[in-house]
Symmetry: C2
Subunit: 720 residues, 2 copies
Amino acid sequence: MAQTDQLADAGHPLDHFFKPRSIAVIGASPDTTKIRGQLQSMLAKNGYAGRLYPINPSYQEIAGVRCYASVAAIGEPVDLALIAIPAAGVVAALEDCAVAGVRHAVIITSGFAEEGGAAAEAQAEIAALARRTGLRVSGPNAQGFHNEPGHVAATFSPTVDVKPDRQPIDLGARRVGIVSQSGGLGFAFYNHGKAWGLNFSCVVSSGNEADLGAGDFFDYMVEDPATDVILLFLEGVRDTATFVAAAAKAAAAGKPVIVCKVGRSGAGERATASHTANMSGWDAAYGAVFARYGFIQAADPDEAIAIAAALTTAPLAGGQRAGIVTVSGGGGAWVADTLAANGLEVPELSQEFQAAIRPLIPSYGAAGNPIDVTAQGVHTGGLQASVDRLVESDEVDLVVLVNSLSSEHRIAFDVEAMGKLARSQRKPILVYSYTLPSDFARRRIAEAGLPVFANLTNLGIAARRLAERGAYTPPRPAAPAAIAPAAARLLADLGPALSEVDAKRVLGACAVPMARERLVASAEGLDEAMAAVGFPLVLKVQSPQIQHKSEVGGVRLAIADAVAGRAAYRALLADVAAQRPDAVLQGVLVSPMAAKGVEIIVGTLVDRTFGPMVTVGFGGVTTELFKDLACRPAPVTPEEAASMLAELKAAPLLEGFRGAPLADTDALCTLVAQVSTIAAALKDEVAEIELNPVLVHPAGQGLTIADALIVRSAPARPPA
Amino acid sequence: MAQTDQLADAGHPLDHFFKPRSIAVIGASPDTTKIRGQLQSMLAKNGYAGRLYPINPSYQEIAGVRCYASVAAIGEPVDLALIAIPAAGVVAALEDCAVAGVRHAVIITSGFAEEGGAAAEAQAEIAALARRTGLRVSGPNAQGFHNEPGHVAATFSPTVDVKPDRQPIDLGARRVGIVSQSGGLGFAFYNHGKAWGLNFSCVVSSGNEADLGAGDFFDYMVEDPATDVILLFLEGVRDTATFVAAAAKAAAAGKPVIVCKVGRSGAGERATASHTANMSGWDAAYGAVFARYGFIQAADPDEAIAIAAALTTAPLAGGQRAGIVTVSGGGGAWVADTLAANGLEVPELSQEFQAAIRPLIPSYGAAGNPIDVTAQGVHTGGLQASVDRLVESDEVDLVVLVNSLSSEHRIAFDVEAMGKLARSQRKPILVYSYTLPSDFARRRIAEAGLPVFANLTNLGIAARRLAERGAYTPPRPAAPAAIAPAAARLLADLGPALSEVDAKRVLGACAVPMARERLVASAEGLDEAMAAVGFPLVLKVQSPQIQHKSEVGGVRLAIADAVAGRAAYRALLADVAAQRPDAVLQGVLVSPMAAKGVEIIVGTLVDRTFGPMVTVGFGGVTTELFKDLACRPAPVTPEEAASMLAELKAAPLLEGFRGAPLADTDALCTLVAQVSTIAAALKDEVAEIELNPVLVHPAGQGLTIADALIVRSAPARPPA
């Protein structure tokens, strides 16, 4: 049973929200088939130890607790009001709360912004009331929260209902905090987690977020000492700045965050003209934020909870080498394949190692890795000895024990010894059962502090995440450098559309390295420009109205000498005049033919949620057909740019692929960082930058930006 | 209880194996803690209704059944002997069985080929005995089988143990047959499946396969009228011809096959010189066979069983459009994302459709798809009406119902109505619970014939497989055309290594279209050859000893005229002489510069398990970094070659990517088919063919084979 002093206040503004010393249930009812009746009953059943005030003018008492006609009638300060009355009365009830000095409210009632129209206006009223009065409001359309160690079940979710006839499984592990933008899903995670025996701090559903948002609750979980791992279910972040600041704090504090993001498919995609924007889409911005802060993405509730089970019971892995101990050859092979598919290694163990365990396993077993101790090996001590030695050895970084745990009365290994080894936190030990684990086995093994993985795919993913998170360090923040006044002035002077040469001037003014190029406005200047640039060279027409120069005959490549150049110049102008007589030309850009290099696309865009983003990928099919792009919030440092490159499947192209020289990745990382800083500084003026292609030359020889595009922000953008 | 007449014989040679009228348990024991004691007890507990003969000279009776000193002492014909005595006595026991006219034996005993040495020789003796006597033997090292409808539990697996206190869940669905090369995993599938309420025909573990192999058992399941869906767990097929023939029969009969293949990672990979061989590796041959016969691959036991649950309860999907009905917005969005990630569509429903259901769901719900009926919509009839209409409509091909089924006493929809709709088999209806379904809900819904999916990833995969399998038709077999005698003679006359020109001659003799090229053996013939070929042209040195011509200066490209050609010829020979003075030159190949085209690699190799294979992919990074290759057993028809191209992620490159013309895929498919037929016909002489690159020109303009390689089989190949 909770003690009232556990519901004490501390530093965070939401402390009295999650640990209220007093709760008013507005709309309380003795009818526990109704949501408003369930709120009080859930609080009581889960052992809420603070002061509870049912509010309903129709009753004197409910379930033995004195009932009040209004919040004002309580006459004492209230930390939290739970509101479950029809939508029409909600705003008035909140006014009452504000007047009575209630600190926080959760509006359970539905039918606000999700309906549109007048109902959406009512939600706007709630938001305004919160700002005006200082009453912090969660919801409407929220399912409330459950503070498990504090025994505050401020929700009607049936998943927190207490079943007195059933002793819950308890891993006694570190605690998970859940922030969910869907009440159903938030408590579904809780429900899945309890079946594993996970421990939770708070589970909170943020509903329509009229006032308090997912970012606020996330921030609380990051600061909350009772929360060790955070699980987020997101539909779309609204309080972006708070959210991102909390993410940075979590990363700095080393508190792991698991995230499930929905709404990736379908209508949410942008329709913009440039390639990178189309291909990355708005979902990439979430991925970029998650990547920067080391969030662990999960594809379904089971996977999220499997990862949480690993993170709350095991240490992070110091590397990606796995040792497998199995009682079934087939099971061991399947686990090995699954780990390999997750990027882990299953190295053959040393001869010394194998010699040490060989005598303990039957002759038809195997000692190489997987170590197949066979069904007999559990009797000969081979199983425990193998796990012990793997934990001791420096040959692997994590251990998977493969077993059949379907029996209701027998477990084929020493659970106490295994649990003790696991609790030493020296290396992750993950237990997988290829048969469905019995309740008996789950319980017994959980009591020793070890979760049982019953889904092989999720075992593989959990192992991978322990290794990935073990290797994660938060990137150093990039300095938000101011843009040279020259660049800003240039931009201010240019029209709504920018040509290549305009874009290159702006970038050049920001110290981005540009090739020696000359703009020739008339035939007279051509010879001098060609001489200055040198042969072979390229001619490209320049006009803000012509975005696709090749398509109108506006590009001439590989010009070897002045004679050819003059002819090409005339032919180019004739072609362009024929095809785009409307276009106002700035002239023809004379550029050197770029030396060979690895083709790269560097792009930026402004995401409607998270702001400026920078993207890097290889050109052509790798980007368009294989979606091989890396994205981060802008700005990035060159080091973070390097981690972006490492993420690309085609990264070997930069690393001396098929005998090619190593590419100048230093120059490329510097460029990505520079461009990201420009995008961040000009986020209100510039919608997109695209450098395509960038030719990255061999190490030490820099790169060439062969083409550049800057798209200005639309002057009157509709709000997101 | 089974009737003896259900254990009758029919047409298949293994009918008396799986439906034995009599069983001898050799090594029977009253000690049911031992495997040999469990065999008799499992048979009895599961209601075996045939004649049972324990064999053990130490007992008069075991568990009330008369015990015999030997098989010979029975004096009656025996259909099946289960052998669980120490390895040393197994061969003698088999001899006794053969003499006594026993038809089949399962050797449970371990310690044979898996140990190597003398134990492996004992296994060879078993195989020889089976061949000599006609006694068909399964194992050794097998876990036996379980014939569920026939009540023959010829195994010691605890997963078939009968628990009288627990009524099993029963979907009353079509039956799954399991063939497993791992006993532990085979019965683990059974164990997982029973938790869903799946029905099985036979589960069989094939052990070391001294005689009967996975292919034999697979063939039985294909022919068995009681088996509707087949689940295979494979480590490595040994009886390849039987296996492939059974696969073809299953495909022709439309009997779905789910396959789990382990041993994909690690040491099993080939080390060969050419690219396709390296990149596809031996695992690709399994994938090729699976693809041809429409096998459904599964990554873990849960996934396999989820797919089996869908296949045994739902019809195949007639398309890939999904309708979603949900009580939770977040849950519906997540399901939509998951289906989209699996290649399904979640189309917006027509205005007519939405107008029809709108009145039945709360205003804060949604009718577009997902249809969010909200928690309230279950009371207003919106849930059932939405599912009804989706099943009726031609706007979707399958329906997913998203619900929370954790309650132990309440289900938020009409289970009977939903079950009736599902049993009509008009469209797949898949029920997903985002909370852990209660035993109550699982049972109630299973009784109505509907499985409950509790894992979102597997729900998505099951839906995808229903759509994919619905679209599958078995390919027409390619004719195994004989190779022109000229090609065979050419090959016979050539040395151990072939140059490009040698390879092209062989292929040309097989009617593969070749460019007009000339081999020039001395400077005298050069001018005439160049004139015949036409400019621009290419010179390439030819020598069986030079595989990488460019690396020794042996290639000159884009030669514009005869003067340049003569100079290039001299320079080429000088470079090659300097770098490879040892090489015996055949001459210099004069080829036209190929017109532009999409670069393709076509290759073949001979897989040690499945024989000749043909591979097609795009060149460069798509093949090497993105593993974008398609593989099939050779030969293929041009139609099957087209299905290979459709499998490639980079397929849009052939389909007018970014404004390029459509490529001549007809010519490419014909080439792939031709090369595959050559590889099949010459499988004993030719280890690999590689055409790299093939330039596929615009539609109607054919293709150019720019380079070709044929690698002969090693003369003395070690057996696989």
